[in-house]
Point group: D3
């Protein structure tokens, strides 16, 4: 039985209902989520034990976040309670030709003020097999980046598999460093890497760009270039997202291992109910696949992509479909019958 | 003036709002509907008198169902009030690549405990010209199947036209019989049959299957095969539904009479607001057409298909568009202007 | 700095939520809007000063309309308060194959009872550069048509640019005149004309019709014909709307000036969140473009069309996107990324 | 079996939800009601047949009102469909120390433009035993007052019992007459009169006023004075309402017949969920009592008062409690147990 | 550390929002609760470990109930998954003078079909110190009553403290037995009994009745009489509820042990937000007090009563206030300041 | 004509709807308010010009706050746009015996990082007659306290009347100073002081306490003691609030000037719809009264108290009743009739 630990920030998410703009809404829908927690919740949903590590303040709003973690069955015992505030983000959901807008209000959140030594990583990783973190956390603050390094070093020493979702957020990374200065160093320990093409380009300086999804040669060149920069990365995956409009995406996925490229079918997603967390869903699907059917990498990338596709039809940050539903989706290519 | 009697179950329907999943919703939208009632309500809406026969318990929730029947102008005077409970079904509305999910909670509903003799069919059919029932009712219980036979025999003797929608529900039919043992016997009296291709295959053992909507020869072979099994069926119709996703269907319709095949234009339905009851809408459109313009069978199948298409844009089980709107839709092919 | 004055009716708009039909809703969403006010609000949003002239009664509901005007930053100081009632319209939002339905309840609204002399146009137009009115106002009543003439004559004398949106509403125009008797006379002063092809045909008797958007020669013939009828119209624009369904439009735009035709790219709008006011958004975009970049008429028509397209994604009558968002949309052709 | 006919206006009612003020609400709750219709609906609820006479326009909003009438089981076959509009009223629900506010938008409603001869009263009153009208209708317009007289004269000739609720609305009565000029003449035919003390004072010029509910002598003097002015009034009743705040009332009732005064217990109503229609509920309770237990006038006034009290706990204009619930309430003095 | 096991039914609860009546609501609020689960959830909230034993079917609606149990931190590992359906109850919330109405739809629920041997009570009670059940469970079915006996016998043998809330529901108990035939036998093992006065009278045949809360002598006679019938009952408690209206209660509590009567202050509860589960809250408070401060019985009854009072201000079946809030409430007598 | 300037923080307020607890709500109602802004908005509502000074960041959420300020007609031109974030507070509305809970999330808000020199007070106070600030602002940060001093010194020099609401918030004041060290120094310039008794005791060290509202002598001693500490305070007022429960208050008001005590009638407020901002409403009423009828101090205190009472019936932070409604309330003592 695999046990996964994920580390990062869980935020309060506020969004105007019914595709209203911020200033039109007299109430905001409230949920809680965050990249690394979303991965943990999705894994528990698939039957894999997962623990989430973060710092949250002592107040009733943070309590709501704790309850969300509990409700998804994710381990919360090692969460620290201190500091000023829980991070918040506002999400104005776009529709048709109007894009979504995110406003972050994460400054001075408890987790951004984390310091080395705050978390007892040896205790955290006891009994764990896998550690997952993402590029969001080192963007929060200098000390958060330091703790990422502390965590990966410990995890590596203790023999855990380490996975990372690059997850670039341009509105964070404000403390004076370009990701390129930090990220490659932090990724040195990572065995599984997830990115999308723009993030890889920006955070790692990837040079090539594949012009279309069908061109195997160019795509492989990209992956080979990435592979060279990431010595321990045995598996590299990419989400591919074509945005026809804010309501219509085409979603595909790529996986590269041992010089072989695996490619999932591209799916239409129309309409998009909620796009936040779809990358985290992919990550969880990837991780689940690598644990459960590591010898069938085509199935792994199809499963991860299927999870990602289905996440777009679920309100909130977190994938809630079962693994059976994903398998059924990729097997039947999603027949839309009412089951009755 | 035609008077139609329909017989079956009316259920409470509960569904999470805004495409939420069951566990995400803190309230459920409540409506009332059921295949045979939906047909009656749609007919009254089109100006044809209709009575609905069922059994409902004596409690305030069943009272809400009675009020729904009243509000649609459907005759309710012959409804029996006894037994334990009204059937319930839960509907999780799918969207994009996530399918809808139905949970039935119909066990021991008042109507499932119906027995021969409970309904005075001679009284019920007095002044009536048409009797409609569906394949859902004999699936409820052995005694319900017996009452279907009792009703059809009486209706037949009294000279009523009998129509049947096969309407297969895999989650019912739990009492030890396969539909094939019962359904052909029950259908012996039916003059008008509605089915979709999968139901016909399953409930009647139809062997051929038409590979595409445009292939007249194969389609006709199917209908001829059906015709042989159903001695009294003068008119056989089929709904054709391609599910691109849970939000996008293509809807067509076929009608077969006197060895002639009539085919309605296929329409895109996107997005699907509510797909439940669209087959019942087709049935009502078919019945209306056969009564009002029996000599124009092309118009009949177009009208039935148009009703079915438009139903997908209406919340709840029941078609609420006027006949003028359907005619306008099939004539103009649905120009989407705001009328102002 | 340009100051625009618009004149017309602001109405209370009531619409069933969630695409319900009128009779299914137990609450109606309430907003306030009206063609000429919508133009003013959109212009203020783009940074151009605008005043709105109307008549509203003295009651708390009219107060809500006044507050809407205030909240959009539109000048309201010259609004008269008298008469019986604010006009109301009900809007049932269509979806997929079911069309929207508008019910007007504007009879005897305060503005419809306006009389010559009620408004001190000289005062109103002091410091103003531009006067905008639409074909809705003369449809309200004979006296309203007279005041339109009074206003345009004064504006013309005072040297203002005059723009008109023909905006035909078949459900108004009930007081015994066909628009053709009045409209050409009223348009004699207009320098900028907006219409769609059907309106132009009906209200002006346009004879030619362009069969497709790509046929330059026929389109130009139409514009030339229009030009002949409208001696002062230096700029004529048209919105082009293909309605695939109530949820899916294709929107384009044409501008004709100095014998040259400018054409904006056609955009898919899917789904349509709210189509009311999209013509007013085009008008405001056109006006903004003519004021801010009069020498780049291609950009003007693209900007107007982009405004119109984006309006379809905003609840309520009024365009709320910024000019930067429109420019970004027409430059990037609407990439649908979440900005975070 | 008694059959009652009531005549008046049914209006669309719009009110901000959750005790918001008009300008704070982005949606309004929609219901339909009107004094005389409310009486009819309440009577049908109690098992007495009732018909409602009014005029409504031909549009989908009026259709919603028709459906409301249908849904309550009230006869609607003699309703005329013509004219411009359905009357509307807006209701801002007060709470605690903030009072409710009503805005009428009834001008030019279809019913206000009624003329003598529009209704075939002989047909309407065929099979009827009782005619009920209220002081609201003659306030609508001069012609509406004339039709009231026409109706009462016909009803009187045809031997119907006539009841009237004085129901003064200061915001109506704008067409140049003081009620005192009209009302006594109209009341000449009425056998049952309902009023509250302020209305009686204003519309009939009642001079005495009872200083407290317990003072029999003064109260009786009031009734005797009334009696003298109303030659045919065999039964006179009064609702007594003490408003502690917008959320807390004390409700009592008085009935005077054959020189005897009957007085119902005063009840606390706290909180008031919806006070509109509580007088109509009293009227219906009074009428029901006079028909069903005319010899027990103490029970009649208690039943009417109980209906009135319970109406305050029901959303919308219309009393929906059963007669059994009213009887249980007056017998047990309202024990507030959950029945389970 | 104490561990409590409770056994019973968890139901889906559906109630119209905003004090609407059943037939007025187009959506129902959905929560999950049930007497014995409510006690367990409240105990976990107070920091005492608790397990809940029940039977639920395998379907997505039952999954929602399981999630509720999980979310409250109550142990759910020993819950059986089989049978047809989860029990449902409908709750129409009364207000002011209109009472609440409950409709049960529990027939054939999975738990009602429980049989001896279904639950491995020895496993369930391993590590447990306390077993709690209520009078609702034996009312469900004959076999459920048998399992109650099976459970209490095992618990008793294994040395657990047993508590019982008599909890009479007149709408259950339909299988042919009067509670008096069963209940005393089942109570023989109970050490802690909770009842209200009416239930004690009905289910045990209590003869005396205390006429007022202040009369010590009569109250004690009641308790002594009870004590004689219940040989193992060391602690007997009573909730006292005066219902001024559906919105206003007065709540007190009594505890009787070792011939001594303890009485909590009576509190006004106004308005009542949600009265369901307030008895269960009392029970949990009682149990908590008996475990945590057994030597201060005055504090125990005050704490139980305070919990009960505060529960009335919380939506849903389950008490969610902390023990600190209860203590603060009983110490300060509930100062209603905003803490900021 | 008086022009008032107020200075402080405007916050985003988020509160669960329908008296739900934080963790029960899936959406939060959103409004914007803050003590000093609330005073300004209330004054504009009463017809007095007012400007609000604060600092807000550049983001769409702060834009919503700006729009709120605009919508209330308060001057916003001198508001600075910089810094990280808008302050947020969460409000869980209590009911009956459960108290409200406020969670502040104001740390590092833009206004808390204000520095001397940020605001050009000479410009701000040009044309102004009155400056209002409150005890909340110096609690935000050391620099905010310094700016308060800077503002009061400038206002004083420029001859403005200065008013202060002491407004103690225990959850703020975290930067190492007790209010007593700062507040008296800051109050040296204030001419009008508002407090409640607890705040006065805490922030100024008031020794006496009046035991009941009716004891003139003790109350006057309190005021005299205050007067001695506040050399420039010509007028001192107090709000008196008895909290019967979270839903029921009794509200009174006191005013002390020239050694004379004026006392307003105490009013019951039941139920309390929204208590936030009621002190600010009192302050605005006080200020309005002192400006408009300074010679009738009894009317001043009654008006301020009436405003405060009525605010409790309005959702959101801000008083929206007109001055006519307040006058009517204090004259009629709040008759709760529907005006129709």
């Amino acid at each position: 039985m695999t046990k996964v630990v994920t580390f990062g920030e869980i935020l309060m998410r506020m969004s105007p209902p019914n595709n209203l703009m911020y200033d039109q809404a007299s109430s905001f829908d409230v949920t809680y989520g965050g990249g690394e927690f979303n991965v943990a919740a999705s894994l528990v949903n698939y039957g894999i034990e997962a623990d989430f590590i973060t710092i949250l303040p002592q107040n009733p709003i943070a309590e709501c976040a704790i309850n969300t973690i509990k409700n998804y069955g994710v381990g919360y015992k090692n969460i620290l309670r201190k500091g000023n505030r829980i991070g918040i983000y506002f999400l104005e959901n776009g529709i048709a030709n109007r894009n979504s807008k995110v406003v972050y209000d994460r400054t001075n959140s408890s987790i951004s003020q984390i310091k080395k030594g705050d978390i007892d990583w040896k205790l955290v990783f006891k009994d764990a097999d896998w550690f997952h973190w993402s590029g969001i956390t080192p963007a929060l603050s200098k000390t958060a980046a330091e703790v990422c390094l502390e965590a990966t070093e410990t995890a590596s020493k203790m023999g855990l598999t380490i996975s990372t979702d690059l997850n670039y957020r341009s509105k964070l990374w404000n403390y004076g460093k370009h990701p390129k200065e930090l990220i490659p160093k932090l990724l040195a320990y990572s065995n599984v890497i997830l990115s999308d093409i723009d993030t890889a380009r920006f955070m790692l300086g990837l040079e090539k760009i594949y012009p279309d999804y069908a061109n195997d040669i160019l795509i492989k060149e990209n992956f080979e270039q990435l592979k060279k920069m990431l010595p321990n990365a045995r598996t590299i995956a990419m989400t591919v997202r074509n945005c026809i409009s804010a309501s219509h995406y085409k979603i595909g996925g790529l996986l590269y291992k041992d010089n072989t490229l695996y490619r999932a079918k591209k799916h239409d997603v129309n309409p998009v109910l909620d796009r936040v967390g779809s990358g985290d869903a992919f990550m969880a699907g990837l991780l689940y696949g690598l644990v459960k059917f590591p010898d069938n990498l085509q199935k792994v990338v199809s499963f991860a992509t299927g999870t990602c596709v289905l996440k777009h039809s679920i309100f909130g940050d977190i994938n809630r479909v079962t693994k059976e539903e994903v398998l059924n989706f990729i097997n039947t290519n999603g027949s839309a019958k009412v089951d009755r």
